[in-house]
Point group: C2
Chain length 244, copies 2
DNA sequence: AAATGTGATCTAGATCACATTT
DNA sequence: AAATGTGATCTAGATCACATTT
């Protein structure tokens, strides 16, 4: 049973973006809502036939895989309103696992239905391209967060990036629950859990951030921003020369 | 003056992919070919109005920007047949600089013309989506090449990745000219030129690879492959435990 | 039981300072 | 003149080994 996209709070960032009410009605006919699935479920697995796109309504999902050495690589965290499976639109199978990190509800669209409808509705076609471009932008942002960045810069940039995405959804971007394990954030940032823990400790001692269990409170966004943007701290010397 | 895409050797990976000859004729009407531009030119710059897509016919182009600390970040190298500007399809401006690393020839399409034509030709629309998905895949591959990889693993994976792309174009993938400075490859791989130079030296001493000036010769692809895939060397100990 | 925190030790690769090559 | 190569030194963060928390 599908509740119309017209009544969904996420329509501004999901498929219905910029569609007329008539067009949304057409979209409703190919979208199906699904009941909540528990934490740890696989929305899809690497190698599965990529028949569907998934629009996340609530919860958080990680997009990940294991490399040949057995290390987990996490490419993305999806928040409500995000659509999963875009990268497989031109492939027979999904290239990654999509694993729920929380109770999740979602809508599902068969990609053939979507393609047919997008041929009739140029605005929808543009929105599909835009969502794929968004995935590319997020991946490059992720890359930039890691390349030549210290552990502190990575964590600061990550927290702000998540906060911005909460903000874009009209949610509290200063104090929020983030159902991602510290270990998973560390993996996403290319750090060990030990290093991640030590960075959180320093941020806490500086009065910049409180992140206990799954509750995140940003106490000094400006300090985090300054750190994420470069090396704002005086004691950052070894790498400072090229950066000045 | 545009030479028809029907006679272009790159039609199997560029826009005309899977189009009928009738459809290619329609594509020809919105494509314009351009004379060679020299090394160091900007095809477009970050912040420019993103009105055009560029299909590279010959030469190599880097997609890059400078971060707030003044360090160059290189996100991609484009080879003949690749299309630049896809990531800006839903944005008013290009987010990166596209700089030629060699004499380059290219075709150009106005994105409005392309969008109009893609509405009429579903196969073309699918090809556009596919090229954007390809950019995303390459970016994730780039990411995977860096995350938790040693300098040697990065360089081995890079050389093989480039070789694969030459192979996909029907070119010699064992011995080829690559007009990218060592310094730029190092930047792309998140390494210093010094470290890159030392890695090349070791590969040369092992008889795996010769890369002098801009001439690349792969002498032992299997050894490089084993290295890129994990830690194949016995002397790799410190990081080996988790990987075994 | 798994996640997280903490201290001691270790190392890959950055940095620095030049030399050499093109 | 800029790119590349080479040796000496330095350090951020990984690894290891546990303790503590949930």
């Amino acid at each position: 049973m599908h509740i119309s996209c017209a009544h969904c709070g996420l329509q501004r960032i999901c498929f219905p973006k910029s569609l007329s009410s008539n067009e949304i009605a057409q979209l409703d006919q190919i979208v199906s809502s699904h009941p909540a699935i528990p934490r740890g479920s696989q929305l899809f697995s690497a190698g599965d036939a990529a028949d569907f796109l998934y629009a996340l309504k609530s919860g958080v999902v990680k997009l990940s895989r294991f490399d040949q050495a057995g290390n987990e690589i996490i490419h993305a965290f999806y928040l409500p309103g995000d659509v999963l499976g875009m990268e497989a639109l031109d492939s027979p199978v999904y290239p990654f696992d999509a694993i729920t990190l929380d109770n999740c509800t979602f809508c599902r669209i068969h990609r053939d239905d979507l393609e047919t409808l997008a041929q009739k509705i140029p605005t929808l076609n543009r929105q599909i391209l835009s969502m794929l471009a968004q995935d590319l932008r997020l991946e490059r942002e992720h890359f930039d967060q890691l390349l030549n960045k210290t552990a502190e810069e990575r964590v600061a940039a990550f927290v702000l990036s998540i906060a911005n995405r909460f903000h874009a959804r009209g949610l509290d971007s200063t104090s929020f629950r983030l159902p991602i394990l510290h270990r998973e954030v560390a993996t996403y940032l290319g750090l060990t859990p030990e290093t991640f823990s030590r960075v959180l400790n320093r941020f806490q001692n500086n009065g910049w951030l409180s992140w206990r269990r799954k509750q995140v409170d940003i106490l000094d966004a400006e300090a985090l921003q300054a750190l994420a943007e470069g090396c704002a701290q005086p004691e950052c010397h070894y790498r400072a020369r090229k950066r000045g």
